[in-house]
């Protein structure tokens, strides 16, 4: 094991899969010679050439649509969309095409498309560059949605996404780009199965489920809670669709208390889904009503002071979970 940065894990995953499989190509805005806005594709253009690593015009609908057509005809395209907010500019190729083509063409095609993008807040990027839209896509049958929070999971889930025969959205956290973490050594083929949660901490009082950029927040909150004598089972689902309900249920059956924390607004969000599924499957195991810890129902504000108040903080998560544990 060695320490690598979150964005380096992405570069490594792309490089390893392009090396392994000549049908893997990479397209997106500035993924080529420039190496990407976060240096996330540095070296790939030089290593694999302009036929397989190509810059696109700023036309998400067009180039994601083209990637779907390429995926239908034998390539394994990987598409970068710089900011998750821009997924709204390619909803049709994702939702009406990639997600449905296999089903509505009678199983004649697969769409092995991987799309990765950087989402979430915490960098004062304002309402159109801070969103977390996982729930939109987790709602669509035919798509898979992964949300790795650590370099090792970026590596393993991106590789799994590229090898998957279905369209997979890899939703990365932009505030995590420069974070470091342990990852398997170079040359080790590290693949994390899609649809498997990670249990990051064992506890008996409460089940704390955290998605993406809220994972490091929840880890710190769990530390603060431990000091108050509250022990939390900390779960990172890692995949929003298909959700690993079994791991969450096993924990809730043990603790009887559930809190879900994420960066997207609450209504119709991933937290709502987790709470609903747990309530349906294990109502009798619950000692008190589950809670969702999310930003308020407003766009993500720009001003650092406002955004700090907007996003769930370590202190807020610790406080709300502490109250839950006492309920």
């Amino acid at each position: 094991m060695k320490k690598i940065k979150y964005y380096q894990a992405l570069t490594r995953a792309l490089g390893e899969e392009m090396e392994r499989d000549p049908s893997v190509i990479l397209i997106g805005e500035d993924v080529g010679a420039s190496g990407g806005i976060f240096a996330q594709t540095r070296g790939l253009h030089a290593a694999f050439g302009p036929l397989r690593v190509r810059d696109t015009p700023i036309a998400e609908n067009g180039f994601v649509g083209a990637a779907v057509g390429a995926a239908m005809t034998g390539l394994r395209p990987v598409v970068e969309i710089g900011f998750e907010d821009f997924l709204t500019c390619c909803m049709d190729p994702l939702v009406n095409q990639a997600a449905k083509l296999r089903y509505m063409l009678g199983g004649q095609v697969s769409v092995p498309l991987t799309l990765y993008t950087f989402g979430g807040g915490g960098v004062n990027a304002g309402p159109q560059h801070s969103q977390s839209l996982a729930a939109w896509f987790a709602h669509v049958p035919g798509l898979k949605v992964v949300m790795p929070a650590t370099p090792a999971d970026v590596l393993g889930l991106t590789k799994a996404a590229i090898r998957d025969d279905n369209p997979v959205l890899v939703l990365l956290g932009k505030k995590l780009i420069g974070t470091s973490g342990e990852a398997p050594d170079d040359g080790e083929d590290h693949v994390v199965p899609i649809g498997k949660a990670a249990v990051l901490g064992e506890g008996s009082d409460v089940t704390l489920v955290a998605f993406s950029q809220m994972v490091p927040v929840a880890v710190k909150a769990a530390g603060a809670l431990a000091e108050r004598g509250v022990s939390a089972d900390l779960i990172d689902p890692r995949t929003a669709s298909p959700l690993d309900l079994d791991t969450i249920l096993a924990s809730v059956r043990k603790t009887g208390r559930l809190a879900v924390v994420h960066e997207a607004q609450g209504p119709c969000g991933l937290g709502s889904e987790v709470v609903a599924q747990v309530t349906e499957a294990a109502f009798s195991a619950l000692k008190c009503p589950p809670i969702r810890i999310t930003p308020p129902f407003a766009p993500s504000p720009f001003a650092p002071s406002l955004e700090k108040a907007y996003l769930p903080s370590v202190e807020r998560v610790a406080e709300e979970v502490s109250t839950l544990a006492a309920a």
């Binding site: 049908s23 190509i25 036929l51 397989r52 190509r54 696109t56 015009p57 036309a59 609908n61 067009g62 180039f63 994601v64 649509g65 083209a66 990637a67 779907v68 057509g69 390429a70 995926a71 239908m72 005809t73 034998g74 390539l75 395209p77 049709d92 190729p93 009406n96 095409q97 083509l101 296999r102 089903y103 509505m104 063409l105 009678g106 199983g107 004649q108 095609v109 697969s110 092995p112 049958p141 035919g142 898979k144 025969d165 279905n166």
Partner: protein
């Protein structure tokens, strides 16, 4: 004078007859309440589908539209499995999960009709990208109409294809109406082909009721694409005999168009010039009779089949 051979000429006519018969029977069966959902027919546009697809090779791809029956038939899809799909039968191309707007035969190069106006173009660009990356030598054709020509996807697809010099042909079937509104509501120029100049590739306008003219234009564009010279835009002007959808009262059409569709008939046009192509009356009669027999067989095939089993509703949501 044309350079096409007698066999090609006969295939063009036979394909047009097949499309005309398929669409005519579909219209009747829809009116009789036997076909569920929506269908959009291409009667009057047979020369576009036949001329374009017969100029292609089996390895080539097409991406079609909501008005796609003709394109699928011309590229080699089986009319029986198409009709079965229209009837909602298990043996339909989409196993009765897609319907008229989602007929595909990927083995024959038909990437599917599509319910989203304009999206045939990026999808065909993607098929052309595969051809370029793998060096397969295949060409992709995107069918679309004047309505789709105003969609953002159209511009994005043509721009990307031009920059990447992809082997793709943008084939715009102008049929005078987009949904319920005339051409002038959708386009600011008389000829959509002029837009090709803004991408730096050739654009031509052809008579979309002349199957031979369409064939020759697509053959030339395909040769250019295969030679690595990039995309082309072909605009084929024709007339949509029926409404946007079956059941459309077509109150927006001119009386001349509505009452006199035979004035815009690519089959009649072809018959008038058949002798010059080396075809006699008996050749045309035999082709028409064969097409009618094949469509009758297709209907019988569909009628004999069952609807999909309930459990198939959950199949193919994902690739296992």
């Amino acid at each position: 004078m044309t350079a096409i051979g007698r066999d090609t000429a006969l295939a063009l006519y036979h394909t047009m007859c097949l499309i005309r018969r398929f669409e005519t029977v579909a219209s009747q069966r829809y009116r009789d309440g036997e076909l569920p959902g929506f269908i959009h027919l291409s009667i009057g546009q047979e020369a576009c589908a036949a001329g374009a697809c017969l100029a292609l090779e089996p390895r080539d791809f097409i991406a079609s539209t909501h008005r796609g029956h003709g394109h699928c038939l011309a590229k080699g899809a089986d009319p029986a499995r198409m009709m079965a799909e229209l009837f909602g039968r298990a043996s339909g191309y989409a196993k009765a999960r897609g319907g008229s707007m989602h007929i595909a035969d990927v083995g024959a190069g038909v990437l599917g009709a599509n319910g989203i106006v304009g999206m045939s173009m990026p999808l065909a660009v993607g098929a052309a990208l595969t051809a370029q990356v793998t060096g397969s030598g295949a060409v992709a054709v995107a069918f679309f109409g004047e309505g789709a020509s105003g969609a953002g996807a159209a511009h994005e697809a043509m721009n990307i294809a031009a920059i990447w010099k992809l082997p793709v042909i943008f084939f715009c079937e102008v049929n005078r109406y987009a949904e319920l509104s005339p051409y002038s509501v959708h386009c600011s120029v008389d000829r959509i082909s002029v837009r090709a100049a803004s991408y730096g590739f050739p654009g031509v306008t052809v008579d979309g009721e002349d199957a031979v003219a369409v064939y020759e234009a697509v053959a030339a564009a395909a040769a250019r694409a295969r030679a690595g010279e990039g995309p082309s835009l072909i605009e084929a002007k024709a007339y949509r005999w029926h409404g946007h959808y079956e059941g459309d009262p077509q109150v927006y059409k001119t009386a001349e168009e509505r009452d006199n569709p035979g004035a815009f008939d690519p089959l009649v046009r072809f018959q008038a010039g058949a002798e010059r192509l080396g075809l006699g009356a008996q050749d045309l009669d035999a082709a028409r009779a064969d097409a009618e027999r094949r469509i009758a067989d297709a209907v019988a095939f569909a009628e004999a089949d069952q609807g999909p089993a309930p459990h198939t509703m959950l199949e193919d949501v994902y690739t296992a």
